[in-house]
Symmetry: C2
Subunit: 106 residues, 2 copies
DNA sequence: CGGAATCCGAGAGGATACTG
DNA sequence: CAGTATCCTCTCGGATTCCG
């Protein structure tokens, strides 16, 4: 994000390993850290937290701390994040149609 | 591309440093390697050729060799590449509107 | 002209272990 | 519960040099 081309920044961020999956989980409801962790099989807490931090820096995800001991943290999409996820979904529809034309020949 | 999630693959590829710029240059016309190189200030031939190779693997760009000595190579978007670029352009419109909401606070 | 070969640095992603 | 701390690997981007 922020090397002069906003567009590329959005694609790069959403192209990261867990960004889309995180946004899909958060779409429509806030979730706790551990909820996300179990909803995303294979992610480690370190990887998840750093992915969430980048999404938070981009103001696509919001982090709400409601209690400090025991810690209660909820993650949610911001309005921008929800709006972006809708756009991504639209592009996913395109990929369903043209996706077979692209990618390595396997 | 091809880790089970086509969508992320497309985003990751288009999120790379030169992919979008290459597609923008190739949109509507084929170009020679050296044309691309001068049209994209700051790119080295190694970086450009590896970026083109990845786009070619994804079948978004086509490489045509018309002469071997002296070498004449033309790059062009495939139909899938042109179609994808239109989709990307649509998302770029979204970013023009909502883009101010995202990104680091500078 | 259109690259390939080599080397380097940065950052994403992952495994494992530990903590307030 | 919600992370942080290390350590490792891999890929992209870049600089430089060389080649048919």
């Amino acid at each position: 994000m922020s090397d002069g081309c906003q567009v590329r920044g959005v694609f790069a961020r959403m192209g990261e390993r867990w960004s889309l999956l995180i946004c899909r989980e958060l779409n429509g409801r806030a979730m706790r850290f551990s909820e996300l962790r179990t909803a995303l099989p294979g992610v480690s807490s370190k990887v998840l937290s750093s992915a969430l931090q980048r999404l938070e820096e981009d103001r696509l995800v919001r982090r709400d701390v409601t209690c400090s001991r025991p810690p209660r943290v909820r993650y949610a999409l911001t309005p921008a994040g929800e709006s972006l996820y809708q756009q991504v979904t639209a592009m996913a529809e395109w990929i369903k149609i043209y996706g077979t034309l692209i990618g390595p020949e396997t």
